[in-house]
């Protein structure tokens, strides 16, 4: 009774109840999945422990370590140079370094393995022209280390963007002060800039780690058994749902541990830098510094975008007579349409959760908002199956054959990618002072009007950022689409994947090229928006 009375008294009860119901609706598949199968079966766990767990754990962590190392290497240094130094093509690099995000990781992996394979152009060229050298490079390139580098190349833009924004906002005050205290530019970077940017860099790295944990296509191709491939194997090949759920739990547990460790280290160093102290004057690098700048800025772009892009472009041109353009256009429209609808829904849902969190100021709403972000750490295929179970096992839902409809596909997308859309909006909302809401209230606006007339326009750039980031991610999405898509429905991603796993690189090239081009256009626009944000604050 007490609780009901309290709820009735709450100021924004309609908002709170509404958003809670939506959160519950989103979480249903996962709740259903875990409650349904969480009867721990000893034998499954013993089997897992005995035969696989050690190998899976080692591979997962080793791959995360390598990928993280290269993502940091490719992300942080260029971000610092672009933020702090004046050099030719600086603006170009600022955009170019962002672009690998447009290439799905599995395409990157397939492309490089094809490129480096014995019959690929690299080794063939050496064999035909420099037979002596060819033996040195005749290696097995399908190694976990190579995979780590490839994933690092595909994912470093997350680190780059986060560091770039942070470096730009740290500002001249700290830099000037440190120079005044006699720090060399190297020392300045490692002793002041990096420690101050730790939270931002980590937030980028966290996304990288999530992507690695969720990676399936590339990891499987390289024969590296991680938790995610383990989940697939246990569930699909062996029909052992228990083992799959146990592995999924382990995966979620690891993610929470990482988040917890980050919070712990974060607590000691809560940084605040005033917004108006951004870097105003770019430094002029010394002559030998140019070498570092150009090599460290062009390497990630070259390997992460230009080479795969031109290889795929070249394949498309070679295959041009076989390209079915009407199908290409159809699939592009499919991809764009389904991504757009889902992204809009994701943004609206994310904004709703964050706004209710802001106005209600209840711990409960913060909790709800965080739990709904969980979708991002759960492998897409697990979500897909949870959704299937939900819509087929519950009698009420079962009577409409919803599985295989767009509603269910989009529903799964929303749950999976909510966190992606949320993070830019969240950081932007946090920056707005409370008095905006209060003033608007005293000027006669209700909560919905405040959202519509104040937060919508004020956070416009963040909303655009969230839209593009989510859109590009959805464009690349594979496992959920594969499991839940309706009849005759292909996206660019599914078509690319189907050709690629059959090793038809030429046929797949035009579709992957379309993904990359659409993604790149969006990302270039996003970069423009982000730079506007950096300059505006």
């Amino acid at each position: 009774m007490e609780i009901i009375k309290k709820i009735v008294q709450l100021e924004h009860k309609r908002w709170i109840i509404g958003s809670s119901l939506i959160a519950l609706f989103l979480l249903l598949p996962i709740i259903f999945l875990f409650s349904n199968i969480f009867e721990i079966e000893q034998t499954a766990f013993v089997y897992l422990w005995k035969n696989l767990l050690l190998d899976y754990s080692f591979n997962t962590f080793y791959l995360i370590a390598i990928t993280s190392f290269f993502a940091l290497l490719f992300g942080i240094f260029p971000a610092w140079y672009v933020s702090n130094y004046k050099f030719k093509f600086r603006v170009f690099f600022d955009i170019a370094l962002f672009l690998p995000l447009a290439i799905p990781t599995y395409i990157m992996a397939f492309t490089y393995s094809d490129l480096l394979s014995y019959t690929g152009p690299f080794q063939s060229f050496l064999r035909n022209n420099y037979p002596d050298l060819s033996d040195i490079f005749n290696k097995d390139y399908l190694q976990i280390e190579i995979l780590g580098i490839i994933l690092g190349l595909a994912l470093y833009p997350y680190v780059y963007t986060a560091s770039r924004v942070s470096f730009s906002l740290i500002g001249s005050t700290y830099i000037n002060m440190s120079k005044n205290l006699g720090l060399s530019s190297t020392k300045l970077f490692f002793k002041v800039i990096i420690p101050l940017s730790k939270p931002a860099i980590f937030s980028g790295l966290f996304l990288v780690i999530m992507e690695v944990l969720n990676e399936y296509g590339a990891v499987k191709y390289f024969g590296v058994n991680t938790y995610t491939t383990g989940i697939f194997r246990a569930w699909f090949s062996m029909g052992n749902e228990n083992t799959a759920i146990q592995l999924a739990c382990l995966l979620i547990f690891i993610v929470f541990t990482i988040l917890f460790l980050e919070k712990l280290s974060h607590k000691k160093s809560k940084f605040y830098y005033s917004a108006n102290s951004k870097i105003e004057k770019l430094s002029i690098p010394t002559t030998d510094k140019y070498l570092y700048i150009y090599s460290l800025c062009s390497l990630p772009f070259l390997l992460g975008f230009l080479i795969p892009f031109f290889y795929i472009l070249n394949n498309s041109i070679l295959n041009i007579k076989n390209i079915d353009f009407s199908r290409l256009i159809e699939l592009s429209l499919n991809s764009i349409q389904v991504s757009t609808i889902s992204t809009v829904l994701i943004i609206v849902t994310a904004l709703l959760f964050l706004y209710v969190e802001k106005i209600s100021k209840l711990k409960f709403n913060t909790f709800i908002s965080q739990v709904t972000s969980l979708g991002y750490v759960i492998p897409g295929a697990v979500i897909g199956l949870g959704v299937i179970l939900l819509f087929t096992k519950i009698p009420l839902l079962n009577s409409y054959s919803l599985v295989g409809s767009f509603y269910v596909l989009i529903y799964a997308y929303v749950f999976r990618f909510l966190a992606v859309g949320k993070s830019p909006i969240k950081s932007s909302l946090e920056k707005q002072p409370e008095s905006y809401d209060e003033t608007a209230k005293t000027l006669g606006l209700g909560p919905f009007k405040i959202l519509q007339r104040i937060h919508f326009p004020i956070n416009r750039l963040a909303l655009i950022t969230a839209f593009i980031v989510t859109f590009v991610d959805l464009l690349k999405e594979l496992p959920i689409t594969l499991i839940l898509r309706p009849f005759n429905f292909d996206t660019l991603a599914t078509q690319t994947y189907e050709f690629a796993i059959e090793e038809m690189m030429l046929e797949s090239s035009s579709y992957s090229l379309a993904i990359i081009l659409i993604g790149s256009v969006m990302l270039v626009f996003l970069k423009y928006v982000i730079n506007k944000q950096i300059n505006a604050s």
Partner: protein, 342 residues
């Protein structure tokens, strides 16, 4: 609030635009096959009969999950796989029904079909041994079991154990020779691996060409695909290896084969159309298309295999009931895990 409702309804309208419209003359496939040849076949079928073919393509296991959970409401008419084991699994889960069509049974090879008539084959493929023409004397090759011989140490290439083709191969060994023999075979073979299992079948062939190993276990049609590639280097790679059908001796079981087949879904809403499609796909003209495009062996004995495939000669097939491939699937995966075959 009005705006919210308006917005949501806009979304719903938008999304219903992309919904497939229901037609009466249609047929719904859940298919693991996603080769270009399949699209060609369905187009030809549509032209001939006016029946529209709708396809969802995904992994067989995921499709089985979907079929299982959809139950009576499933829209699927046919379930198409590239592995008899999966068809058996679906049959075992009571997801299929008996197919009764004299035409189909006239069309297909009697050895390949399901004894109970729950599924039919459309093509078959052999899991063969390819060897480096330069470094291996073909006289030294004999059986799958022979691959565990010490002379092949660091010479054998094969893909990961999570691959269905390998699972089927080991299942057949369990079925033919028992669990113990299969376990021994797998653990001994792992010792002869030239490298950790990775990549796909084509990569194993390329690895032979690159000198990383001498022998590989692959599916037959991949060699056909390599030899017909548009990349000269791939043709070279295909030519550098020889094809060997193992287990051909009189006492032996024959080379392991597997089918790509079709099951009729238990609650198929368009059963008649579904049977028409099966009849079409097993017909001589469609079978020719299969073998000439994907280099698989036709399930229809009246159709000759493609020229490239024919050159490898005929071989003795393992006549094991292919349902056994599904029965021993989990056992095979356990053996893989225990033997350290990644």
């Amino acid at each position: 609030m009005k705006r919210v409702i308006l917005f949501i309804s806009t979304i719903l309208v938008l999304s219903s635009c992309v919904e497939t419209t229901k037609e009466s003359d249609e047929i719904n496939l859940y298919s693991q096959r996603h080769y270009k040849v399949d699209e060609k076949q369905y187009e030809a079928f549509e032209k001939e009969t006016g029946i529209k073919v709708n396809v969802v393509k995904a992994n067989a296991d995921e499709l089985i999950e979907r079929l299982k959970n959809e139950g009576d409401n499933s829209p699927a008419d046919l379930f198409i796989t590239v592995d008899a084991g999966k068809l058996q699994k679906a049959k075992d889960l009571d997801l299929l029904q008996k197919i009764s069509s004299p035409i189909i049974y006239q069309n297909v090879d009697i050895d390949l079909k399901d004894v109970n008539g729950y599924w039919i084959p459309i093509t078959y493929r052999a899991r063969i041994i390819v060897y480096s023409k330069d470094r291996v004397d073909v006289g030294e090759l004999s059986t799958y079991a022979n691959l565990t011989d010490k002379k092949w140490k660091n010479k054998v290439l094969v893909r990961s154990s999570s691959n269905a083709y390998n699972q089927a191969l080991l299942s057949s060994i369990v079925a033919n020779r028992g669990e113990e023999a299969a376990t021994n075979w797998a653990s001994e073979l792992v010792k002869n691996f030239a490298r950790d299992p990775k990549g796909n079948d084509r990569d194993q062939v390329k690895a032979i060409t690159a000198g990383q190993g001498d022998l590989a276990i692959v599916n037959s049609y991949y060699i056909g695909l390599l030899l017909s590639s548009e990349n000269d280097e791939e043709i070279k790679a295909g030519n550098s290896v020889g094809v060997f059908f193992p287990n051909q001796g009189e006492e032996e079981s024959g080379s392991h084969i597997n089918v790509s087949g079709i099951g009729l879904a238990k609650n198929a809403p368009n059963k008649e159309n579904a049977i028409k499609l099966m009849e079409f796909l097993t017909s001589e003209s469609a079978q020719k298309t299969y073998t000439n495009t994907s280099y698989e062996y036709p399930a229809n004995p009246n159709v000759e295999p493609n020229e490239i495939v024919k050159k490898w000669g005929s071989f003795k097939k393992d006549i094991l009931d292919l349902n056994q491939l599904g029965v021993f699937r989990n056992k095979a995966i356990e053996i893989f895990d225990k033997s350290g075959w990644k």
